[in-house]
């Protein structure tokens, strides 16, 4: 059962080894800091394992969106395994297919194309946040 209202949890993979992981991370921060700051919260994914019960109830407290860099879907799987089933998953590699002109290379510093892609992913997350909150308000 989801207990909190008016907030959506976002768990990203952060994928340190892949540029797509950096995109998942930056897109998540864009939503938290700029697009939907009052409607979203986050938690470090590895804290599900390293933390305690307080962290593990996260997806039971908040409807949660997993943001994954690649098809291994660690954010979705990790959230389900340790906390609760995410309401939705956004896959960076799938969003990339819609924008084939945007190339990503760097894991560390985002260039103009990587920043544009992160913004596109952030917009998809924000849209999903609105959908979830709208559905919750209708109940």
């Amino acid at each position: 059962m989801t207990l909190a209202t008016g907030k959506v949890g976002i768990i990203c993979c952060s994928g340190e080894d892949l540029p797509e992981g950096t995109i998942s991370r930056v897109a998540t921060r864009l939503v938290l800091e700029k697009l939907r700051p009052d409607q979203t919260v986050t938690l470090c994914l590895p804290l599900f394992l390293a933390g305690g019960e307080d962290e593990r109830v996260f997806a039971r407290l908040f409807p949660t969106i997993a943001v994954d860099g690649c098809s291994k879907k660690c954010a979705e799987g990790g959230t389900r395994k340790y906390s609760g089933k995410p309401v939705a998953t956004i896959l960076v590699s799938e969003v990339m297919k819609k924008y084939p002109h945007l190339r990503i290379k760097s894991r560390e510093k985002l260039g103009p194309q990587e920043t544009e892609l992160a913004t596109k992913v952030a917009e998809e997350i924000a849209k999903k946040v609105d959908e979830i909150l709208c559905k919750a308000a209708e109940k």
């Binding site: 340190e16 864009l30 470090c44 590895p46 599900f48």
Partner: protein, 137 residues
Amino acid sequence: MKNHKVVIVPCSGIGKTLGTVGRVATYKVVERMRPEKTRTICLALLTMGDNDALQLVRENPCIAVDGCPAQCSKKNIEASKGDLVHNIIVTDVLRKNRPLKPDGVIELNDQGEKLAEIIATALSEKVDEILHKEKCE
């Protein structure tokens, strides 16, 4: 002689500036300072128990780089039965460099970059030490 690389595993630190400092420090080492001797791995893969990730941390010396005292990286490597040989907590390094005021998660400010550089230098020296010790054994 074993042909190991040192695996540097930063925490994901999505909520804090110091998580980004650890991540940036790691990239400085694996991409520029010691690219032939090091690599990194997605911490989330370890959290998920991915077989390739488990094998990598069990067969190579690992350094955990954690942004905060929760030490997610260290704890995940330990839970994976990885070969943890060293760990750095960014808050400890910051305490020794008090004038620095790192800020930003999406992008670090100059002082955050400087702290990342200090950590990267310390990591590089530790990598050399670990591989030298291994060579001598």
